[in-house]
Structures are given as structure tokens and as C-alpha cells.
């Protein structure tokens, strides 16, 4: 596997070339963050800008989020999951494929900062990273953590680490994890409806209704989200548990057959709610019903957007 530095160099070269060849007016990638264990989305418009682009174990936010509605030709740095989101956006007519250049980065998973916090509670002001390790540097200590141990949970089960629909890959393909068997949902399925309700209520009890999960999600591009509708107002604005749960359940359902498990929602959540739990359930249902995984090829049609005259369901005829 190429090192982070090698991938960084390759991203910079590819970005410069995309700008020079007129494939893009802007390259959306990542730059180093201002705080340990962070990156920031970065919009490179000149070759000098491109030298700020990096690759990192903290490139968690899904940059596809910046595509819908963006004018002009755009190149975007994409992991496997991000590239799948882009395919979905194109299928849903949110971005024109002709204006797009996807710089694919075969990904070995991104790090969950909460898992790092659980391993090292002492304050650190500096850090370094390689493809396999994170090193935290405090005043009188240096702690090395294996990346494998602190991967985000969606990255641990990711079967599509190589963005196969990308226009260009900046490194060799990486094998994905085994096909997803939704083992994480087994316990939930064993619960009764009442227990499941309690589980969900408990899951979201810290929710601030800040909607960072929604705003970080590349699928949530609605001009007006149903929670923001005022005429009529569908949903209360308070911390009422049913209103909050309704938001999460409906968002989960809206993402059915579209979610690519990029984990941006969980990365963005300030109170560490396992937001993806709602999407996982619909992901499994769509897999069971139609054997469909979102965003794997430009040709596939999202099952909830197509109609077939020979559909076996009677209500649709």
C-alpha cells in the first residue's frame, strides 16, 4: 500500500492535472485541520492551492455533500463510500456526470476519534499518523495506537473500499471486508416492537436537534427538509422525544436504498449518537428485498425510484 504521503502526492498531481486539463474549475479535497486528529474540506482552484491537499486517516466527511447545486466543472476526492454517494446523486439528477471528475482514493478506513479518546485520556497538542498508526504527543508522553483498533464501525465492515466508479484511482485497489452480513443488527431484530421503541428512544436521548447528521449527509439535499417546513409545520421544534424520534426515523426512511454507510452523520454528531443505526435497518431491508447496494455502478437504478409493470406487489398495479 502507498503511504499517506505518497497518496497525498498523487492526489496533488491528479488535482493539478484536472485543473490544467480543464476537467475541473475546482478540486474538492481535504487539507490538514487546525486541531489534532482533524481535516478540513478544501476547495483548490489553483496549482498552489493543490499543494495544500492531503490524504489522512481523518478524511471522514463525505465531500459529495458539496456537489448538489454546485455550478461548473468539479473534481472531487472520494473514498469508496463517497464515490457511491456521488453515483446516487447523479442517478437522482442532483449533479451532472459531464461536470464531474472523481479522484478515487482506495481507502483503508477512517478513524473514530471517540475510540482514540477512550484509549488516551491525557491531553495532547500534537500528533502524527501513518497508514496504520496514530501517534499522540503530549507534554511528557507519546502514545502509538494501531489504526485497526480505532476504525469507525462503518469502516470495519466496508466491502467497497475501492471507489470503482472513479474517473481515476490514485492508488492500487484495496480488498474490502467480507460481504456485509448485518451482524450488528441481529440483536436489534431479536427485540420486540416495544423493546425496539425503548432502544431507539434511548439511542437519541442526547439529541440536540442541531441536524448536523442531516447537513453532513450527501443524500440530504432537499431544498427544505420536512423538519423545517412551517406551512404546515410537520414536526414540533422542542426536545420532545417523539418529535426527535420522528426526525430520525423519517430521515432513516428517506435514505432507504440510498445510504452508502459513509458514516458522515456519525462523524458530525456532536453528542455521538449512532445515527447510522436507522439507516442500517433500511439498508438491510433493501438488500433483502432487492439484493441492492447503493451506488456501485452508473447503470444500476435505485429500486425505490423504478416501476415495473410486472411488479409482484398488488398495490402498485
Amino acid at each position: 500500500m502507498p503511504s499517506l504521503e505518497e497518496t497525498t502526492q498523487k492526489i496533488r498531481e491528479t488535482a493539478k492535472k484536472a485543473l490544467a486539463d480543464g476537467k475541473a474549475e475546482v478540486v474538492i479535497g481535504y487539507k490538514k485541520g487546525t486541531y489534532p486528529l482533524s481535516t478540513a474540506p478544501f476547495f483548490a482552484r489553483t496549482p498552489e492551492d493543490c499543494d495544500q491537499l492531503i490524504w489522512s486517516n481523518f478524511a471522514r466527511i463525505n465531500l459529495a455533500n458539496y456537489l448538489p447545486g454546485r455550478p461548473g466543472k468539479v473534481a472531487v476526492v472520494a473514498k469508496g463510500c463517497d464515490a457511491r454517494s456521488i453515483v446516487g446523486q447523479v442517478a437522482e439528477n442532483q449533479f451532472h456526470k459531464d461536470n464531474l471528475y472523481v479522484i478515487g482514493v482506495p481507502c483503508t478506513g477512517m478513524v473514530d476519534n471517540n475510540l482514540i479518546a477512550a484509549k488516551e485520556q491525557r491531553p495532547y497538542r500534537d500528533y502524527s499518523e501513518t497508514l496504520d498508526t496514530i501517534t499522540l504527543k503530549g507534554a511528557d508522553f507519546s502514545t502509538e495506537i494501531k489504526k485497526e483498533e480505532v476504525l469507525r464501525r462503518n469502516c470495519r465492515t466496508c466491502a467497497n473500499r475501492t471507489p470503482k466508479t472513479a474517473d481515476e484511482l490514485v492508488g492500487p485497489e484495496v480488498p474490502g471486508a467480507q460481504a456485509d452480513d448485518f451482524a450488528d443488527l441481529k440483536e436489534l431484530h431479536s427485540k420486540s416492537p416495544e423493546e425496539r421503541m425503548e432502544y431507539f428512544k434511548d439511542l437519541i436521548k442526547d439529541c440536540l436537534r442541531c441536524y448536523a447528521c442531516r447537513n453532513a449527509c450527501p443524500l440530504c439535499y432537499c431544498p427544505v427538509c420536512f423538519v423545517d417546513e412551517t406551512r404546515p409545520q410537520w414536526l414540533g421544534k422542542s426536545t420532545d422525544p417523539m418529535d426527535t424520534l420522528t426526525f430520525h426515523l423519517l430521515r432513516g426512511l428517506h435514505c432507504a436504498g440510498r445510504c452508502t454507510s459513509c458514516g458522515a452523520c456519525e462523524t458530525a454528531c456532536p453528542v455521538n449518537i449512532k445515527v447510522r443505526e436507522f439507516n442500517r435497518i433500511t439498508e438491510e431491508t433493501v438488500m433483502d428485498e432487492w439484493g441492492y447496494e447503493a451506488g456501485l455502478s452508473w447503470e444500476q437504478k435505485p429500486p425505490l425510484t423504478v416501476f415495473q409493470p410486472d411488479d409482484e406487489a398488488s398495490f402498485i398495479k
Partner: protein
């Protein structure tokens, strides 16, 4: 006023004493669960960084019921709003950080000033005695010094507590704080020189602070019209994380919710990051894009509030938004850009 000392093994007795007849509030839990909640003296710890989200929830809960009405004509005053009353309880909070106490004092001037008094805030804010805990070892996210504060700052506090060589040092700040300590039968001690040297060391530990003072001198329109807001806004997701976890963000939305029997008027936290925050009934929105919304957040904190509050900034450097912003929009970098641009213009 004299300082006092509480020896380590006497902390519980001290907390017992100050919480007599009052609710004791103190940070509990770890990591993202660390919050100031009702507790008992034996559960109080000095070993925490800071609460995950700001303690403004104590005085300004995310959802607060203000009034209610009922629709039953057989009952008195149908369809007339009745005050839901003040739920304020006499309390003492132990362990609020200086940045948060200062931040809440900024909000206090918004909720209570020579023009308005908000009874819901006032009742709660004034019934809580605030014992702050100084930050001997500032954390990596801290920049209170750059924002004009100090890890040993006393603004908004009644008592400042700090870890002394001999135990827990206590410095009364207000008369109420002095009374609280006097009634606790504590040992007096002259800790002023220790306090001073600790504060100096803690300030030094934050490194050389950025200088944001040029923002104060730069003209309002000049800052407002700066083309760079667009590039600062480009990253922003317009989620409300930064505003919700902030100790000084205080904007709210009033809503009525009703059912067949009656209804309540409530206020909920709102966020200037949302387009809905400013949209008019006509559909016109004076802050139509991310650019205007992002500008509002930083201008409000770093320009408008200082203009209205004698130079006190609407950011106290707690660092929560720096850590929790999903796309790493760092208020320090923004403030520096607002400052540096000015320097260039002056040069």
C-alpha cells in the same frame, strides 16, 4: 476579602456545608457525557476537562415551557395564557469553568439589561451561586487568554476555587460568595501569591495568544462587506453544532404547541446557521445563503457583542466549537483572518 483553604479530606464537608438548603450542581460523567447535573457531595470530582456542551442549559434549557392555556370553557380563563411559573431552585454550582462563567455573564446582559428583563433566565441565573474551578493546566482546545479571559478569570463567578498546594483554595469574588464561604467555617489563608503565580503559569501554558484586537478597530461595514466571508462559508455545512454547544449563543424561537385540550407556549434554542432563523412570512430571507449566515455568527461574537458590551467578546475561548465542528471551521482562524485583513488595510 480573605482567601480560604479546604484540605483535601475536608472537601466533602465543605460541599455539604455550601449545599445546605440548596441543590448541589457539579460536572458528572466523562467525555461527551460530562454535564453539570444535580449531585451529592461524595460524587463531586475535580478531575474533568470541561462539560461536553456548555452549562447554559442550567439557565436556558433547550426547551422551556413559558405559558399554557386550556380550551375548556367550563374552567376559569379559557384561552388565556397562564404563566407556568418560575421553576428556579436555590442552588450552588461547583466546578463551572471560568470561560463558561464569563460566557454566561455575556448572555446575562442579553437577558437582563436596562431595556428588558427575561424572568425565566433571571430566576434561574440569580438563584444559583457560582463556584468556579480554575484551569491549572489548560487543555489543548483552550484559548481563553486570546479572547481576553484567563484560566483563573473570575467574571460571572461568586467564588473562584483553585487547586492549592495545601488543598482547595477558595477566593470570594462577590459579596454573596463571601457570605457563602464565611458561613462554611473555613480556615483563612493568604493564597494571593500562590494564586498569582498559578495564573501566570496557566496563561503561559496557552502559548503566545493570537491578537484579535484589530477587529475592535476595524469599521463595521468594512468587516461586513469583506469578500472573504464567501470562502469561510464555503466549507460550512450550516448545521447548528457550533451554536448549540456554545456558552454565549442564546438565540431562541418561540413556538405554540396545542392539542384538543389546550396548549403551551415554549421557547427552543434556535441557530443562526439555519435559513429558517431569518426567513420572513413573505418568503423573503435577509440571510439567503451560507455566506450571510456564517458571517452573522462570527460578526455577532466578535464585533456586535463587543460593541454592545463594552468590548467583551461573545467568544470566551472554551474551544468546544473548534473540537466539534464537523468540517473544522476554527473560530481562531476566522478571528485571525478578520484581524489580519484589517492590518493589511491599515498598512
Amino acid at each position: 476579602m480573605p482567601e480560604y483553604i479546604v484540605e483535601e479530606n475536608a472537601l466533602k464537608d465543605f460541599l455539604q456545608s455550601i449545599s445546605k438548603g440548596r441543590v448541589l450542581l457539579s460536572p458528572q460523567g466523562v467525555g461527551d457525557k460530562c454535564q453539570i447535573t444535580e449531585t451529592t457531595p461524595d460524587k463531586v470530582t475535580l478531575n474533568f476537562t470541561n462539560t461536553h456542551i456548555s452549562p447554559k442549559t442550567l439557565f436556558f434549557p433547550q426547551t422551556e415551557w413559558l405559558m399554557s392555556f386550556q380550551k375548556d370553557h367550563s374552567k376559569p380563563h379559557p384561552y388565556v395564557y397562564q404563566d407556568l411559573g418560575d421553576k428556579a431552585k436555590s442552588a450552588v454550582v461547583f466546578g463551572i469553568r471560568p470561560c463558561d462563567a464569563k460566557g454566561l455573564s455575556v448572555s446575562n446582559k442579553v437577558f437582563q439589561n436596562d431595556r428588558f428583563t427575561d424572568p425565566y433566565w433571571k430566576g434561574k441565573y440569580e438563584s444559583v451561586i457560582k463556584v468556579g474551578l480554575a484551569c491549572k493546566d489548560p487543555f489543548p482546545q483552550c484559548f481563553c487568554v486570546a479572547m481576553g479571559g484567563s484560566p483563573y478569570g473570575a467574571t460571572g463567578l461568586d467564588v473562584l476555587a483553585f487547586p492549592s498546594e495545601k488543598g482547595l483554595g477558595l477566593k470570594p469574588i462577590t459579596d454573596e460568595g463571601a457570605k457563602l464561604l464565611a458561613e462554611a467555617n473555613l480556615k483563612e489563608a493568604d493564597l494571593s501569591s500562590e494564586l498569582k503565580s498559578q495564573e501566570e503559569a496557566a496563561i503561559k501554558a496557552q502559548g503566545i495568544p493570537d491578537d484579535y484586537s484589530p477587529i475592535d478597530h476595524r469599521g463595521l461595514l468594512n468587516l461586513f462587506q469583506d469578500p472573504q466571508w464567501q470562502s469561510i462559508a464555503e466549507n460550512c455545512l450550516n448545521c447548528g453544532v457550533c451554536t448549540f454547544i456554545c456558552p454565549t449563543c442564546h438565540c431562541f424561537d418561540i413556538q405554540d404547541e396545542e392539542n384538543s385540550e389546550g396548549g403551551v407556549r415554549m421557547r427552543n434554542w434556535d441557530t443562526c446557521m439555519s435559513w429558517l432563523f431569518t426567513v420572513h412570512g413573505t418568503g423573503h430571507n435577509p440571510r439567503p445563503s451560507k455566506t450571510e449566515r456564517v458571517r452573522q455568527r462570527f460578526m455577532h461574537k466578535l464585533k456586535y457583542i463587543p460593541m454592545k458590551q463594552n468590548g467583551d467578546r461573545g467568544c470566551t475561548g472554551c474551544g468546544r466549537c473548534v473540537v466539534l465542528c464537523p468540517v473544522n471551521i476554527d473560530i481562531r482562524s476566522v478571528a485571525l483572518r478578520m484581524s489580519t485583513l484589517n492590518m493589511q488595510k491599515q498598512a
